[in-house]
Symmetry: C2
Subunit: 145 residues, 2 copies
């Protein structure tokens, strides 16, 4: 059973969202929360949509895309159940899962290309959280601040 990934972006991220969904084929089940054109929107709205979808149990993981990945990830990280990781390489995606138990991958469409983004996604979706000494740190992100 493929995992469900919620995906959301702003206008800067729209072309990369479409390219990534197509390139991944049916490896994942997608919950596409938009945006669905290059008309100007706010990354803050789409980071919020994705955070709420994961909070409602509609997806286990999320991918967010804006120009840099920064703005849309800050919006999502306002929610305590979201750990959104801005990654520019599969190395970062691996460590975000292994050490931070990140549940959202944030990508910058103006920073990395589609092949780097695909490697980030595949690494993110296949790396397990290590737990152990990392558990208490992640617990504090969720509840203790």
């Amino acid at each position: 059973m493929p995992k469900t990934i919620a995906i959301a972006c702003d206008h800067a991220g729209f072309p990369l969202k479409e390219a990534l969904k197509k390139a991944c084929g049916d490896r994942y089940r997608w919950l596409d929360l938009g945006t669905n054109s290059t008309d100007s929107v706010s990354y803050a709205d789409f980071g919020e949509h994705l955070a709420k979808a994961i909070g409602a149990g509609r997806a286990d993981y999320g991918i967010l895309i804006c120009g840099t990945g920064i703005g849309i990830s800050i919006a999502a990280n306002r929610y305590a159940h979201i750990r959104a990781a801005v990654c520019t390489s599969s190395t970062m995606a691996r460590l975000a899962r292994a050490h931070n138990n990140a549940n959202v991958l944030a990508l910058g469409a103006r920073i990395i290309g589609a092949e780097v983004a695909l490697d980030c996604i595949d690494t993110f979706m296949t790396t397990d959280f290590e737990g152990g000494r990392h558990q208490a740190r992640v617990d504090k992100l969720n509840t203790g601040l």
Copy 2:
């Protein structure tokens, strides 16, 4: 009058914190919130310390360093007055200031080297927020989620 930058890190970021403070000389005034050794600590605690220092008006800007910049920035971004940007290049640092009005730069000591980090800092500290169409998006990050 040099600007005051609060700086905080975990054990993974400690050597880079020391190197960056030394390399920047007296270009900035530093509010060093630790950690001050390579003994294991939690990035979540140090992200929180920095967020509270900025909230209290002890510094205008912040720099956070952990292994990737991801965990410590998530901790800081739990606070509505913090816009912490994980950057792996000066391009990202420029856009984080120009578009997101980021007030905290988050760096990964296991991802980028000291020269890249220095370029990120100098770009971050010399780039102004563009305002305009970006203002409402930033306002929503601060208050609207």
